[in-house]
Amino acid sequence: MRNQKIIKICFLLSTFYLLFSFGSSFAQSEKFFEIRAKKFSYTPNIIRVNKGDLVRVRLISEDVHHGLFIDGYGIKTSAHPGMEGSLKFVADKPGRYTFRCSVTCGEFHPYMVGYMVVGPNSRFWMYGGIVLGIGVIAFLTTFLRKKQNVQG
């Protein structure tokens, strides 16, 4: 019983260590994105940066007044046709964040979103690791219980 607990704890700890140390040595740089907004999507719809990058965004509207608000960072800009908007910020929070339209641009306005992925996406890897870890523990528990019953 004690051995099983030790095995489980060691496995979980090693999983977490591997996941958190994953990709910690990305280089920081400046990244520029020209994002075009047209009802009801952005192009590019997914932008990828690394943690610590200086990100510059130019928002161009191709039809009506659109906005761009970045979840998690709380920053926004907007663009009219012929009048651009811009953002400049440091991507200091890793993970996948949704950027969404902040100006009512049509009926699908609440669904007009894009993704900004700030790598490494440690949030996803952490939860993924937890799920895998739980799954493995459940699997091991099933077999170890069987062995115990046999020995008993």
Binding site: V64, H65, V103, T104, C105, G106, E107, H109
Partner: protein, 129 residues
């Protein structure tokens, strides 16, 4: 059988349904009567552009008809799914009166012949943001 409680329940039901519907439209009607109300529909030029309706009940494309000297409430209804703005760059309150007076003097006969001489009209320049 409790008839009083049944009556209360039915009354509450009617309050929640019929009275609510009547009440909502009644309150709005009362609010609108306090001013000279003009309903202005915001539409992009591709879809027909602005139209307005005042007390005469007639929809006027690209014109707002307002009485001289009275406070006017514009209800701007955007029936499209994009944002529209509204600007009246040629006007402040004083300007409205002066211009309207000039227009009346020019259009008096035509207005009188339509039996609407109490109303002054002026074409507003409407800017769309």
């Amino acid at each position: 059988m409790n008839k009083n409680k049944e009556r209360i329940a039915v009354t509450l039901m009617l309050l929640a349904t019929v009275v609510t519907i009547v009440g909502v439209f009644g309150i709005e009607s009362f609010r609108r009567k306090q001013f000279y109300t003009v309903e202005l529909i915001a539409r992009s030029p591709l879809n027909g552009n602005w139209t307005s309706r005042g007390k005469d009940g007639i929809w006027h494309p690209r014109k707002i008809y307002a009485p001289y000297g009275k406070e006017v409430k514009l209800y701007i209804r955007n029936i499209e799914t994009v944002s529209h703005g509204f600007a009246l760059p040629d006007f402040n309150r004083t300007d409205l009166c002066d211009i309207a007076k000039q227009v009346v003097e020019e259009k008096k006969h035509s207005v009188y012949s339509r039996n609407r001489f109490f109303y002054r009209h002026h074409s507003c320049f409407l800017g769309c943001i």
